[in-house]
Symmetry: C2
Subunit: 308 residues, 2 copies
Amino acid sequence: MEQIKVFSPASVANLSCGFDVLGLALDSKGDDIMVKKIKRKEIILIHTDNYNLPLTVNENVSGKAAQAILDDLNLDFGFEITTHKNIHPGSGIGSSSSSATGTVFAINQLLGNILSEQQQLHYSLIGEHVASGSFHADNVAPSLLGGIILIRGYNPLDYIKLPVPSELWVSVITPKIQIKTYDARRVLKQKVMLKNAIQQCGNLAGLVAGFYRSDYELISRSLVDVLIEPQRAVLIPKFTDLKKKSIAAGALGTGISGSGPSVFSLCKGEENAKKISEVFNSIYKKTGIEYELIVSKVNEKGVKIIQE
Amino acid sequence: MEQIKVFSPASVANLSCGFDVLGLALDSKGDDIMVKKIKRKEIILIHTDNYNLPLTVNENVSGKAAQAILDDLNLDFGFEITTHKNIHPGSGIGSSSSSATGTVFAINQLLGNILSEQQQLHYSLIGEHVASGSFHADNVAPSLLGGIILIRGYNPLDYIKLPVPSELWVSVITPKIQIKTYDARRVLKQKVMLKNAIQQCGNLAGLVAGFYRSDYELISRSLVDVLIEPQRAVLIPKFTDLKKKSIAAGALGTGISGSGPSVFSLCKGEENAKKISEVFNSIYKKTGIEYELIVSKVNEKGVKIIQE
């Protein structure tokens, strides 16, 4: 195989109470990435989108990930990576992770699938680090593997695929303002109240149990973030309205996707997810801020091959 | 029915990463409680053990719980409660919860089972509060209901019964020194590092997933407490030894039971639980401190009727 084209899904990290440990992949949004073997030992980057992302290898998530593979495996050829981003960078739905995992997955296919899942995650994280400045796997892992992923811990990376309740849908609004992950991390206080940490623990455990039981009521009761959301909500215009009105309209819960500015609701069923999307729309159309709406099932497969 | 005798199990709360939100019931240890209807509208307390617990109704966990039921239901009779405690008070394996839940369960049986599970928990918590000074359900709920119980939150009390992996055993050592729950709570700092709270969240989510998957390796990796154990371990003689040597001997994980001084290990299989018990024994027999060893399956039924 000399070239391959893949679709790499967007993802919603954190899921309210699961800050830094939970993420899920979206079905209906992602980047298209074409990787071609080339003779010269180098990485060539092409973007067919209009995001003006850096094309220097070490400053580009795909470039950095690909270069790491090239170096570690001491390959005697290189790759041309053509990316068409459909995910706005900095939108909080795993834009950089999508590009990194898609690239790593595609290269691994071209190499005859010689990298383990763990190794693919490793290289994806190296890429993702370029954009976020940190090694967090809560976008990378769902984007690569699909489904709802729990990152139990790092050193070594320990991830668990959780069951996806069959009627679980996601509604997302992506305001076209940029919040950099790095900045969103800086606003967080380093210390939290023990009682809030315990409440967060209870909710996260309830959410995990809710996924296993397909218990939508329990999922709903558990989708509460007492640690991070109160600190970050101010960064997102109309967050309180989005949350209040979506929940009033039947969303299981609503929170900040990743480090924002995207806001997500988990919903029971497509119909409710569409209704929530209308709620988001009705609030944002008055703001003058550009935005995008996504209604999606949870993507259970992760990166997929579009064309070989 | 005029009288009933029940067995009310001991319990291990917290389970390392599950501080204040997880607890499990033990099979082989508990209090025996006999409740008899009497004509006068009062609560009479008898203890056939030697623990010299207060016999004033409002100062006794069983008395307080029983009185609350008597008052709320405006009954025109009373109860004589004869307790034989087999659980050392203040030992950290839910001694007060066991007496409270056994009493409430027995009274409910005598009343023709008119109280819901929630109501029984409510009255048990009223009793338990006498001893602990707080309303925590992580001993009361497993003692009443059996199994491994997640307390997602309070207001209202939200509890979920988690699956019990079939080979899960518990080994406990109960040093005969007293640590009052009240004091053990006082040593805790009110603030914790956010990064530690996140690590705790990841471990707790991993533990819950481990119970659902019957994944003993995952349970083992998740049984880590970075928030509370570092603060409380000093209260328990030889804690570091107990932990290190039990894990070296194959325990899935070892931690403080409740607020101590009991120390528990979760184990895969009876044989390993017995081996861990020997490890505990070999460490404590040199200390001069009296202690008791318990090897038990998880009790899946909760309070049970011994005699009607």
